[in-house]
C-alpha cells in the first residue's frame, strides 16, 4: 500500500483535484443556469463534430441518391410505358378519324348513288414504271372484285379501273394511263366523247377528251363525267376541262381534262362491285 501510494500518489492527487474542479464548476453552473462545461466540451468537439457530420452527410446523400435513382427510374419506365400506350392510342384515333372522314365524304356521294355497292380497299403499292400509271390494291376476286370494275376515291371521283385480277389483290390502271379509254361526256352536253390517257399529260394528272362533237359548246371548267356502259357506271366525275385545243378541220378537236381525284398521297379507294345499269 505504501509503495503503491509512493509510485502513484501524485497521479491520484491530480485526478482528485480535476474532479474537485469539475464538481465546483458544475455546482456553480447549477446556480447560474449556465452549462459552461458542456459548452466548453461542445466547443472543443465542434470541429470533430462538423467533420463527422460532413462525412455522414456525404454517405446520406449517396444513399438517398441511390434510393431516389431507383425510384426515379421506376417512375420513368412507368411514364415511358404510358406515353407509348397513349401514342398508340393516338395513332389508332387518327386512323379511325381519317377513315371516318373518308366514309362521311363517301356517304355524301353514295346518297346520290344508292344502287352502288362498294368494296373499300387499300393501295398496297404503286407501279415503279415511268411509262404507266397503275397501283395494286389489297382486294381481289375473293372480295367480289371483277375485271373492269370502276375504282373511286372517297369523294366519288373516278380514279381508274381494275385491269388485272388475282384472288386477294388487283391491279388498277388509273384514268391518266395511256391504255385508259373511257366513254365520257361533258355535264352541260349530252354528246358522248372519249376520255383517254396521253403519255405527255400523264405525269401532270391530265388526260385528253377526244372525238368532241363538232357543235359541242364545251367550255373551260366544265365537268367531265362517265357516259356509262356495261362496265362503268354513268355519272362518275372524271375531272374538269382545263383547255380546249381546236384543229383547223375541226375533226381533231380535243380538250385537256384535269382529273378531279388527287393521285398523290392516295391511300384508300373504293371498288364499285355492283350498280344498276340505267337505260
Amino acid at each position: 500500500m505504501r509503495d503503491f501510494i509512493k509510485k502513484k500518489g501524485i497521479w491520484i492527487g491530480i485526478v482528485a483535484i480535476v474532479i474537485a474542479l469539475i464538481a465546483a464548476v458544475s455546482a456553480f453552473a447549477g446556480f447560474s443556469n449556465r452549462d459552461s462545461v458542456s459548452g466548453a466540451a461542445n466547443f472543443a468537439m465542434g470541429p470533430f463534430k462538423s467533420a463527422a457530420s460532413s462525412v455522414v452527410g456525404v454517405f446520406e446523400n449517396i444513399y438517398s441518391r441511390m434510393y431516389a435513382y431507383d425510384k426515379l427510374k421506376a417512375e420513368n419506365d412507368e411514364l415511358k410505358a404510358k406515353v407509348a400506350k397513349y401514342e398508340n392510342e393516338y395513332r389508332d384515333y387518327m386512323e379511325l378519324s381519317q377513315e371516318n372522314s373518308d366514309l362521311k365524304a363517301l356517304l355524301g356521294f353514295s346518297e346520290s348513288h344508292t344502287d352502288f355497292t362498294y368494296e373499300p380497299a387499300l393501295i398496297s403499292s404503286w407501279s415503279a414504271s415511268n411509262w404507266s400509271s397503275s397501283f395494286v390494291i389489297n382486294k381481289g376476286a375473293n372480295d367480289g372484285v371483277e375485271l373492269g370494275d370502276s375504282v373511286i376515291d372517297k369523294n366519288g371521283y373516278l380514279v381508274g379501273r381494275v385491269s388485272s385480277l388475282a384472288e386477294t389483290n388487283s391491279t388498277v390502271t388509273t384514268v391518266v394511263d395511256t391504255k385508259s379509254r373511257i366513254s365520257a361526256g361533258v355535264y352541260t352536253n349530252t354528246d358522248p366523247a372519249m376520255a383517254q390517257g396521253d403519255f405527255s399529260l400523264m405525269r401532270e394528272g391530265k388526260l385528253k377528251l377526244m372525238y368532241l362533237p363538232q357543235d359541242s359548246n364545251i367550255a373551260r371548267e366544265d365537268i367531265v363525267l362517265t357516259a356509262g356502259s356495261n362496265s362503268i357506271p354513268e355519272g362518275l366525275i372524271i375531272g374538269y376541262v382545263e383547255d380546249i385545243c381546236l384543229s383547223v378541220s375541226g375533226l381533231d378537236d380535243y380538250a385537256i381534262i384535269k382529273i378531279a381525284a388527287s393521285l398523290n398521297g392516295l391511300k384508300n379507294v373504293y371498288v364499285i362491285t355492283e350498280y344498276e345499269i340505267v337505260g
Binding site: 415511268n130 411509262w131 395494286v136
Partner: protein, 165 residues
C-alpha cells in the same frame, strides 16, 4: 474456313437477300423519290453485277428471278423483263468470262449499256402501242437512265463483296 459447298450456299443466300432489298428499294422507296419526275431502275444494276462477278450461268439464273421481281414491280405479267434480264445476265456473264475484266470500269460500262437497252426497249414498246410522241418518250428515257446511273457505284460494292466470298 468454309468449304466450297458452304461458300456457294452462303453466296446464294446473300445474293437472294440483296435482290430482295434492291427490289424493296426500287418499288417502295425510290418509287416515291423522283428526280426529274422519273423513278430509277436498280434491279438491272444488280443483274449486271452478278453476271460480271459470277459468270454466265449465275448471271442467267439471277436474271430470271430479278426479271420476275421487276415485272412484279411494274404490275405486269412475268414475261417481258423475266426474259430480257435472263438474256442480259447470260450475255454479260459470257463477256465477263472471256472478254471483260471483273472490275469497276467493266461493271460501269455494262450498267450504262444495259440501262440504255432497257430504255430503248421501253421506248419502242410505247411508240408501237401508244400514241405517245417520240420526243416525250426520249425525254423520259434519258432522265430514267441518268437517275439510275447514280446507283451504279453504291450497288457495286455489296455485289463485289459477295462475289469475293
Amino acid at each position: 474456313m468454309l468449304n466450297v459447298r458452304h461458300r456457294r450456299a452462303v453466296k446464294v443466300l446473300l445474293y437472294a437477300i440483296t435482290l430482295i432489298i434492291i427490289y424493296l428499294l426500287q418499288t417502295f422507296v425510290f418509287a416515291e423519290i423522283r428526280l426529274l419526275c422519273v423513278k430509277p431502275l436498280l434491279i438491272p444494276l444488280a443483274v449486271v453485277g452478278v453476271a460480271i462477278f459470277e459468270g454466265s450461268m449465275a448471271g442467267g439464273v439471277f436474271g430470271i428471278f430479278a426479271g420476275m421481281l421487276f415485272d412484279i414491280s411494274y404490275s405486269q405479267p412475268l414475261i417481258e423483263y423475266t426474259i430480257l434480264f435472263t438474256l442480259l445476265g447470260i450475255v454479260i456473264g459470257l463477256l465477263s468470262d472471256y472478254v471483260l475484266s471483273r472490275r469497276f470500269p467493266s461493271y460501269l460500262l455494262c450498267c450504262v449499256i444495259v440501262l440504255i437497252i432497257i430504255a430503248a426497249v421501253q421506248v419502242l414498246g410505247m411508240a408501237l402501242f401508244s400514241d405517245a410522241e417520240m420526243s416525250d418518250l426520249i425525254d423520259v428515257a434519258w432522265k430514267q437512265t441518268v437517275y439510275s446511273i447514280i446507283f451504279i457505284l453504291p450497288l457495286y460494292f455489296p455485289v463485289k463483296a459477295i462475289g469475293r466470298i
